[in-house]
């Protein structure tokens, strides 16, 4: 079975093709350019280059959040429309989990970082156990500083993954000292082949109901909720 994997949750645009256990094609860019004009052309190109017809796609895996709202919607809309119209299963994998997969050989905890402005981050905590990526603390929108203190309690080395971890390097280093470690650039760009493998054995979801995990209310909803709380 061939798996098509799509990641548009950050500046990284990743499309991967997995054939059974084997990653056979990957396309990655890490630039600030419109995903919308590029994702389908890349899928088209990569499939052709790998000599695969779209009718051979047996499953679609999408990094479904958190991340850039617009970016997520592009990947999710393409993924769910293709899955529905080609009648193949779709599965979502956390964009943070995908980033954390870069830490496969790191002996400690892994904290993938996406900047969420104003000193906040989207992050979760992961670790590898017997070559399997396990969730330690759920993906959430958090204050970077509070997250640093929370991680300190583990008293273990923590690998921060993702380009955005550089934005918060000082905060984490000040709190965790030598336990704060930062992945090199080559491991900061999430690998779409890894995404395909992470989703390979997951059960398909209903394409119609498939949507991004924004992990945050819209500003308008949050404001409305606050204003109507006392009532």
């Amino acid at each position: 079975m061939k798996i098509l994997a799509i990641d548009t949750s950050t500046n990284v645009l990743g499309v991967g093709i997995v054939n059974h256990e084997k990653v056979i094609g990957e396309y990655i860019t890490n630039i600030k350019r419109n995903h919308s004009t590029r994702v389908l052309p890349v899928i088209d190109f990569l499939l052709k280059d790998c000599g695969i017809d779209k009718s051979e796609i047996g499953k679609i895996v999408v990094a479904n959040g958190p991340g850039s709202y617009t970016g997520l919607r592009i990947g999710v809309t393409i993924g769910k429309t293709l899955a529905w119209t080609l009648k193949v299963p779709i599965v979502g994998v956390s964009s943070l989990k995908l980033m954390a997969a870069s830490g496969r050989y790191f002996p400690g905890l892994i904290s993938p970082i996406m900047d969420a402005r104003r000193g906040n981050v989207f992050t979760g905590l992961y670790k590898y156990e017997d070559q399997k990526l396990m969730l330690v603390e759920e993906d959430k929108h958090r204050s970077a500083e509070e997250w640093g203190y929370r991680l300190k309690e583990y008293n273990q080395p923590v690998l921060f993954v993702g380009d955005d971890s550089n934005i918060h390097k000082e905060t984490f280093t000040n709190i965790l000292l030598n336990n704060a470690q930062f992945a090199p650039s080559s491991l900061n760009t999430a690998k779409p082949g890894e995404l395909g493998l992470l989703g390979k054995d997951l059960d398909g979801e209903e394409a119609h109901l498939f949507k991004p995990n924004y992990l945050r209310l819209t500003e308008a909803e949050a404001k409305w909720r606050d204003e109507n709380r006392e009532v």
Binding site: R73, T81, Y214, T218, A220, W224
Partner: protein, 341 residues
Amino acid sequence: MNKQYILGIETSCDETAAAVIKNGTEIVSNVVASQIETHKRFGGVVPEIASRHHVEQITIVIEEAMKKAGLDFSQLTGVAVTAGPGLVGALLIGVEAAKSIAFAHSLPLIPVHHIAGHIYANRLITEMQFPLLSLVVSGGHTELIYMEEHGHFEVIGETRDDAAGEAYDKVARVLNCPYPGGPHIDRMASEGEATIDFPRAWLEEGSYDFSFSGLKSAVINTVHNAQQRGETIVPENLAASFQESVVEVLVEKTIRAAKEYGVKQILLAGGVAANNGLRTELQKAVENLEGIELVIPPLKLCTDNAAMIAAAGSVFYEKGIRADYTLNANPGLDLESFSIK
């Protein structure tokens, strides 16, 4: 002739819509999922919320349109989608979905300008006769568009500030009507009398442009002044006076342009075409003109829908207009740049 089936997709604002049109003129299916109820509590469309809803609705709506049409994707001639103008995040959902379907089934992809769509809603009622003039009045647009033939658009007049629908909605807010306020003002106007003399923005001699912000401010000032003096104004009369000013300018300029350009048809398009005052006055005015037919689509085809996008897409398809998978949402897409001639 082979049958032509175009799937249309529209997500430019707060309706997720899909439709199938046969041979450019016949509605085979027309599905609209409106978000109005969701946005009501915010007093207007919240772009981020609209985008989130579109993602959740898009495949459901397309599936329903295809099911109602009883068609397979392999039977389609092409996929038409609104590429702009509109809310960029909202447009994107339709564009990505349309590209995905076109890709999955190797179908031609046809980009459609939203306003061209509004105009082509009329072709679902009666065949177009050229040259023609279209008055597009919606939440975001107030334009007079001259068409010499299919796919040709010349904007001969447009609003310099607020769109007509926008003015209705802003006035409605001052009168505490729920969103969208246009229909409420329309109803109130029918119950009141035009007792207040509001300005008419004719602009320069011969101009076909519009301006509604001065009128809007005049209405708002009238309300505030009355409140300060402790006077009560009859909202119905205020609505009637406001509507009279809007309708008079719209009708006058439309008729003048129709005469100058010697058109055979006047097409009304956009959500404000639902306005009773506008419909009645335009009908009256056209009755006095010989050889000009007035076409007003039913309400369902005036507000955002995908049938109109597929109808326009059908014509563009015949003209050879295609997009590739790099197609992007363009919130500021220009109608004339889209024109074929």
